[in-house]
């Protein structure tokens, strides 16, 4: 089998590992790092390195190698973490991601970027390590720490060799106490290293321990070192300057220089040597060990309870189940026409089938559901970067990460949500000083929450910032030529910010404020069948709420009949239905009709008019008015009769045809025929365009009801 067959698996795994790495880096408390987290970050880097090595992605391997070493120091406490170091790590992680993408596209990663990140990491290693080793030199504490941590690390890294390493670990720890006082004697051989680097390396080595002896030439230069550091550590330090194949570390030949110590130091030295051997002897062993570590997540995957399935396979199952549901309701309809006593076993069988089919459908739909964590997990980084850029102090809180949402929706919600978060960070939450002056804590709080409500999911972006400025929005709206009035309700005012090109930001920043956005946010969310609401209170904060249907594949619908045609209304948009009385109907400006429903005048739109249905009921009082709400607008739809509620499988019209105005999609009814699902907002728009088109011909065909004159008041 070709090794490239495994590329995809590697890319996916690496992607996940990078995600883990970023999450841990962001969660990491710089002042008191959690060793488990540091280990997790290290392991992620290590696994990627292993995979990259196996597949020959050199740049990726080299970069992760450098990063891994730094992380190794960090987890051993030799590198004191600071925020800027974590930033560098994050930067490196981004770079790894870029490299990964390049390899995925079959390209070589950008060599300049690669060089730059390597230099940055090497510089960091030199700066930080030089300093931290300087500070402690070869103190006891360093001595006790290093060998201790190291065997642990080994056993974690290479579970395959656990029998060996755990043995030596046990012994090593035992021996540690004995060898604490004494250091081991190592011979470090540098192969093919020129004068300049040799001097540098010797200096580095000098910081790790005491150089007893050094001699040799360019080809092979040997340094005998008395140190408490392990061979691994030494190698790791040096590999920032030279390639690790250029280093050979061996236990110094039993010399007379430290005879007293050798007995007690023997075991740990042996351990160090074997380590050094496996690590350094040749590239072969390295790749094999890399392959071994690579095997680790694989083994885990075998134990784990999840499998990877391409989305189109899942979609196929969902489609098939949709078909099954349609067939089932077709059967149901046929059976309901039969005599139920004569065919009782058939009837009960069909009702059992119905239940099973519904259960199956529900189970299949849940496959597509992914937790919101998938979306929320990308925000800590964004918030971190932006707060740094904006000089603000903001804490991100996420709630309801386990709330599940259809995968296709999670992918499409990311962009709008990102925009809302940027807005909140940039315009919503004030500068720390301003917050203090307003009597609020300096640290602003941004909450992302998700929860289920009926068949919808509510996603909220809540900030405790200054809130929206009513006057400013109104002034801006007027300047933009949007009709406003002073007694508009707050909700209406907030909706103004969704107008295209609207921004109240005093100056345009590179974070947000160019005024492209909120309209796009709104449009995107509407395209997903949802809507956006804003609540805001001056000085307290702003809450933006996105309401989305849980899935796009199935819709709770109400079937209605107009003429001989059946249409489906999304049940979520239906508020109520009633029979209009003549005294509630008023004509307005000629042929526009409004209907009075509980002290509210609602525009009336006749479905037969908009959809050109022949043979429909034209006497308004014989129709049924269904009050619907879409995009915050309410109106009455006139239909001939209501048929009932049913779940329908949404079928895209655009697959083989095109978008139809006033229609959001289609579905297949029990009898196998196609019914159109009406688009509530689209109907309203279509009605208006049709009326405008008809305007030159006043008193058109559809003016059947004698209407009362508008009463003057």
């Amino acid at each position: 089998m070709d090794i490239t067959d495994f590329y995809d698996t590697f890319f996916e795994e690496a992607e996940e590992l990078l995600g883990d790495m970023e999450r841990h880096l962001l969660e990491l408390d710089v002042d008191d790092p959690d060793s488990e987290q540091l280990n997790a970050i290290f392991r992620a880097a290590h696994s990627i390195k292993g995979g990259a090595g196996t597949f020959g992605f050199d740049a990726l391997q080299h970069t992760t190698h450098l990063l891994e070493n730094l992380l190794d120091y960090a987890r051993q406490g030799e590198l004191t973490l600071r925020r800027d170091i974590v930033d560098t790590f994050l930067e490196a992680k981004d770079m790894l991601h870029d490299q990964l993408n390049a390899y995925r596209d079959g390209e070589e990663p950008d060599p300049e970027a690669f060089d730059r990140i390597c230099k940055t990491l090497q510089q960091l290693a030199l700066d930080e390590m030089g300093k931290s080793v300087d500070g402690e030199v070869v103190s006891d504490s360093a001595g006790s720490e290093t060998p201790d941590a190291n065997p642990d690390a080994e056993s974690e890294e290479m579970p395959e060799s656990s029998s060996v390493s755990s043995d030596s670990t046990g012994e090593a720890t035992e021996q540690d106490e004995a060898s604490d006082a004494g250091a081991s004697l190592l011979t470090v051989a540098l192969l093919g290293v020129d004068d300049e680097n040799r001097g540098l390396l010797a200096e580095e080595l000098g910081q790790l321990g005491e150089i007893k002896h050094q001699s040799g030439d360019d080809r092979r230069y040997e340094v005998t070192l008395e140190t408490t550091a392990s061979a691994d550590d030494i190698e790791a330090v040096m590999c920032f300057i030279i390639d690790d194949s250029q280093v050979e570390i061996q236990q110094a030949s039993a010399s007379s220089e430290a005879p007293a110590e050798s007995a007690s130091a023997d075991k740990p030295q042996a351990h160090a040597t074997t380590d050094a051997d496996t690590r350094t002897s040749s590239d072969d062993t390295k790749t094999s060990s890399a392959a071994k570590t690579k095997a680790k997540p694989k083994a885990k995957a075998g134990e784990s309870t999840s499998i990877r399935v391409p989305v189109d396979k899942v979609d196929q199952i969902i489609n098939l189940v949709g078909e099954l549901i349609i067939t089932q309701s077709m059967l149901d309809q046929t059976v309901s026409e039969l005599d139920s006593t004569a065919n009782s076993s058939l009837t009960s069988g069909v009702s059992l089938l119905q239940r099973n089919a519904r259960d199956l459908q529900e189970a299949v739909m849940s496959i597509r559901m992914v937790p919101m964590d998938y979306v929320f997990s990308r925000f800590p980084r964004l918030v971190r970067d932006l707060t740094a850029k904006l000089d603000k102090d903001i804490e991100l809180v996420t709630e309801g990460e386990s709330t599940e949402l259809d995968k296709s929706l999670t992918e499409r919600i990311i962009d709008p949500l990102t925009h809302l978060v940027r807005n909140s960070l940039d315009h919503g939450i004030e500068m720390p000083d301003a917050r203090e002056a307003a009597g609020k804590p300096r640290t602003g709080k941004l909450t992302l929450s998700a929860q289920h409500q009926g068949g919808n999911i509510l996603i909220e972006v809540i900030d405790d910032g200054a809130g929206l400025n009513r006057e400013k929005i109104l002034a801006k709206a007027e300047a933009n030529g949007v009709p406003t009035s002073d007694n508009m309700s707050d909700d209406d005012v907030w909706q103004l910010i969704f107008a295209p090109g609207f921004s109240t930001a005093d100056e345009v920043s590179d974070v947000s404020g160019r005024g492209v956005g909120m309209d796009v946010v709104k449009r995107n969310i509407q395209a997903m069948g949802g809507h956006v609401e804003i609540q805001s209170e001056p000085g307290v904060g702003t809450t933006t709420r996105i309401v989305l249907p849980l899935t796009l594949a199935i819709l709770d619908g109400m079937s209605i009949k107009v003429g001989n045609e059946i249409f489906i209304l999304p049940l979520g948009a239906v508020l109520e239905s009633l029979q209009p009385r003549n005294e509630d109907l008023y004509a307005m400006a000629g042929d526009d009709i409004v209907m009075k429903v509980r002290d509210e005048y609602l525009p009336v739109i006749a479905v037969h008019e908009v959809m050109d249905v022949p043979n429909a009921q034209t006497t308004m009082t014989d129709c049924i008015a269904v009050i619907v709400q879409g995009e915050g607008r309410r109106y009455a739809l006139l239909v001939d009769e209501l048929i009932g509620q049913q779940q329908v499988v949404v079928k895209n019209l655009e697959t083989n045809y095109r978008k139809v105005p006033g229609v959001s999609a289609a579905t297949i009814l029990g009898d196998g025929s196609v019914a159109l699902i009406l688009d509530i907002t689209g109907m309203h728009r279509l009605n208006r365009t049709k009326r405008e088109a008809r305007r030159p011909l006043p008193g058109g065909v559809n003016q059947p009801v004698p209407l009362k004159e508008v009463e003057e008041s």
Binding site: E565, M611, T655, V660, P661, S673, V674, A675, L676
Partner: protein, 164 residues
């Protein structure tokens, strides 16, 4: 795909092509048989409002929503009737499935290149852009329609135009 490829290769080798011949009124038309998915009866079409007249609506083809175009209306034929003989040819054009209503399907014919004459440029209702040529077969004339071009053309209004 392999059968399609090998079929077209075979066709190229033989320098002749197979066509499905159908009738619209008294006229005979032909389309590349490789575009045809199936032939079925005309039934159960759901009308679509505000669409051109020749778009009869959409139908359910085993769970897929397929638009139905009546070429007789499109080509301004005088007599448009729906009866037992009326059939829908389901064709695959540009990853889309479209049904076209015709008066009847007569046969499948193999035409050699010298039987296909270039179409004269004078068509008004049916621009010669949408024709691959005219097939002459003894005393019959077949109008060979480039169904791909025709159905994806802007005037058919089947495909969303780029502007929208």
């Amino acid at each position: 795909m392999t059968t399609l490829d090998s079929a077209s290769t075979a066709a190229v080798e033989a320098h002749s092509q197979e066509f499905l011949v159908f009738s619209l009124g008294d006229e005979e038309y032909a389309i590349d048989i490789l575009k045809v998915q199936e032939i079925r009866g005309y039934e159960n079409v759901t009308r679509i409002a505000n669409a051109p007249e020749f778009i009869k609506g959409v139908t359910n083809l085993r769970g897929v929503i397929v638009p139905i175009v009546d070429l007789r209306i499109k080509f301004h034929l005088e007599k448009v009737e729906y009866g037992g003989q009326t059939v829908v040819i389901v064709v695959n054009v540009g990853e889309r499935i479209v049904g076209i209503v015709v008066d009847g399907v007569s046969d499948v014919m193999t035409l050699t290149p010298d039987q296909i004459k270039p179409a004269p440029e004078f068509g008004v209702t049916l621009s010669s852009d949408f024709l691959s040529g005219l097939g002459s077969l003894e005393d019959r004339m077949l109008v060979i329609v480039d169904i791909d071009k025709l159905l994806t053309s802007e005037e058919m209004a089947l495909v969303e135009s780029v502007k929208e």
